[in-house]
């Protein structure tokens, strides 16, 4: 059997020099995967003036940071970034490469997979290392890339048994951010950047970004509404409840798609993963993609008029009834009790 490397790489994405949370979450997970593989965790940092970020990855156990630091690389651009990654990955053939499933990671990772002819699984909700028997062949220490698939009717475990490089993207919040108590003694390996004619032909002529005003990940209480809320107007009652008990309002993908609530408040596989003290699911049926984003909440209340809704299988407290009747009563009772 071919001998593969046991390096785990995390592509650290950045905007304006600030590394994304998801990258540190992936470093935390990558460290665990590298331990099981008895291998090395490495970070890849591309940008301008990125030394601090490179050093910060040592706090997460990266033993080496491959740093490509150049003023022309300040902002993410597909062509130069993918060229750099293609070269690095082809040269070193790491066993695992992880990317955030962000606008950057989902733009970059497929190009690297295409160039290196590697397997890539998008939006994983779990990653494990395991020995696998597939089609009567034994494989050691494969990366299990686990994600809900096919409209959430199934959970698929994807493997890439016959290629040396296994790649995955993971949404922000899915993995936990666990820095080490003290940083490892890491090494920065600076890699020179050679620009190409086409790099200067692609220009960012405007960029407008607002700080995400909603921070679902750190909200202690989340009141979430689903398609069953029926309308955007009906969400008002959820905002009122959130105001009274001190929480944030979120929605399921179906509610976002229906225009009841903006995408930045979406919880689930393709939204944010949250672990609040209390999660109140209102008119949410509880598809697997949604549950993937909230089932680790400390306490879950489900309110739904369908007693068979799958959300009742993951909740701690279940109320069968109409959200529009129950929430106002709940607010009244709450105010009375906590006066």
């Amino acid at each position: 059997m071919e001998k593969f490397s046991n390096e785990v790489w995390v592509f650290v994405e950045q905007q304006s020099g600030n590394a994304a949370d998801v990258s540190f979450e992936l470093l935390s997970k990558g460290r665990k995967l590298a331990e099981i593989l008895k291998g090395t965790l490495k970070s890849v940092v591309i940008g301008s003036d990125m030394k601090k970020v490179a050093e910060k990855t040592f706090q997460y156990g990266a033993k080496e940071c491959l740093l490509v630091d150049h003023p022309e690389l300040k902002d993410y651009k597909t062509v130069p970034y993918s060229r750099i990654m293609n070269e690095l990955v082809s040269k070193h053939i790491p066993r695992v490469v992880l990317y955030g499933a962000s606008f950057i990671g989902r733009d970059l990772a497929p190009r690297v997979a295409s160039f290196t002819r590697s397997g890539l699984t998008a939006d994983c909700t779990d990653l494990q290392i395991s020995d696998v028997t597939y089609l009567r062949q034994d494989y050691k220490d494969l990366l299990l890339q686990i994600r809900p698939a096919f409209g959430g009717n199934i959970i698929a475990t994807i493997i890439t048994p016959d290629v040396p490089i296994q790649m995955a993207t993971v949404r922000e919040g899915v993995m936990e951010n666990v820095p080490l108590d003290s940083p490892v003694k890491g090494k920065i390996v600076e890699i020179p950047y050679t620009s190409d004619k086409i790099d200067t032909m692609i220009n960012i002529i405007e960029r407008h970004q607002e700080e995400n005003k909603v921070n679902l990940k750190s909200a202690p209480i989340i009141i979430a509404g689903g398609y069953g809320m029926g309308s955007k107007e009906n969400f008002e009652i959820l905002y009122e409840l959130a105001h009274v008990i001190g929480g944030e309002v979120a929605g399921s993908r179906a509610a976002v798609d229906a225009g009841f609530i903006p995408h930045e408040r979406q919880v689930g596989q393709t939204g944010v993963t949250v672990r609040p003290k209390l999660y109140v699911a209102c008119g949410i049926s509880g598809q697997i993609q949604h549950r993937a984003g909230m089932q680790d909440s400390n306490k879950i209340i489900a309110i739904n008029n369908d007693p068979e809704a799958p959300i009742f299988d993951v909740c701690h407290y279940g109320i069968v009834g109409d959200v529009m009747d129950i929430i106002p009563d709940f607010i009244e009772v709450y105010k009375h009790k906590l006066k």
């Binding site: 890539l120 009717n153 698929a156 086409i198 279940g318």
Partner: protein
């Protein structure tokens, strides 16, 4: 200045309406069991390509890889206004993951020849991977703009596009040719045009004509192809033989990602406390949450 665009389209199972036994024992999907629809964002991509052509002139070619049934999708593209539809279909292409798909698509595009833009939907609803667009661009060594929401301007050899990014947007200026993946909000697909439906409802791909011949000894394939071509009703079809592809990089064989295991979604059988939807019940709930140290 006119532009030649290729639009990558896909017929997908309507994952929003799944019923029955759709999963095969090997973990792949039995697409025959599901209603097949035009992947929504690919339809938006086609619309954007058509708008670009209507404004500047040129040609729009719809390209899909799929089973013979995918010919339906190309007819729909013709109904909307595409100038040509091309089907890539071969049993040996079946079971392709995004890498093998992008390989075959890129080889087909090379065969089609010169182009200015390739459009595709951001992602297909049966996989939500958003990988085939960028993977195809990489194989063709093209720049790409993903998550495009608006084409702001096209000049001779340069395009300005607004794309969505986390918490906002950016405007990119990129040389042609390039590949663009578009999001739902980029355009509203036009309805089918009645005159075009009448004109193209009898358009047939090679695989469909082959099927007609199979069931009728009086028909000859070559004659049929000639007849349909003369009426401009022949949907060009590319099989493995027509494409200079490496069989080891196609279909299931050329796909590094394998479905190792499918678990049906087993619900935790979660025991939970039932709360009555009355003020009394809600009062007990609030008490419990205070005990849980969530309130108070």
């Amino acid at each position: 200045m006119s532009y030649r665009s290729i639009v990558l389209v896909k017929q997908v199972p309507d994952t929003a309406n799944i019923s029955g036994q759709v999963m095969k024992p090997d973990g792949t999907v039995n697409r025959a069991m599901l209603p097949a629809i035009f992947n929504p964002e690919d339809k938006v991509a086609l619309e954007l390509a058509l708008q670009t052509r209507d404004k500047n002139g040129g040609e729009v070619i719809a390209l899909t890889m799929g089973p013979p049934k995918a010919s339906e999708l190309l007819r729909e593209c013709l109904y909307m206004g595409a100038d040509r539809g091309i089907l890539i279909s071969d049993r040996k292409f079946a079971g392709a993951d995004t890498l093998a798909t992008s390989y075959v698509l890129s080889e087909a595009i090379k065969k089609i020849g010169s182009f200015d833009m390739i459009f595709a939907g951001r992602q297909a609803i049966d996989g939500d991977t958003a990988q085939v667009g960028p993977q195809t661009a990489e194989k063709l060594n093209l720049p790409q703009v993903t998550y495009a929401e608006k084409i702001i301007d096209i000049t001779k050899n340069k395009i300005t596009i607004r794309r969505k990014i986390d918490g906002g947007h950016e405007v990119l200026e990129t040389p042609l040719p390039l590949l663009i993946t578009v999001i739902k909000d980029a355009a509203t697909p036009r309805p089918f045009k009645a005159t075009r439906v009448m004109a193209y409802k009898n358009a047939r791909s090679l695989v469909e004509l082959e099927k007609m011949v199979e069931g009728n000894t009086l028909l000859y394939l070559d004659d049929l192809i000639e007849e349909y071509t003369s009426k401009s009703l022949f949907i060009e079809t590319l099989t493995m033989d027509e494409l200079a592809v490496d069989a080891n990089r196609c279909g299931l064989h050329g796909s590094p990602t394998k479905v190792f295991k499918i678990d049906s979604v087993v619900l935790g059988g979660g025991e939970h406390i039932k709360i009555e939807p009355t003020k009394e019940g809600l009062g007990q709930l609030v008490d419990k949450l205070m005990d849980d140290h969530i309130f108070g």
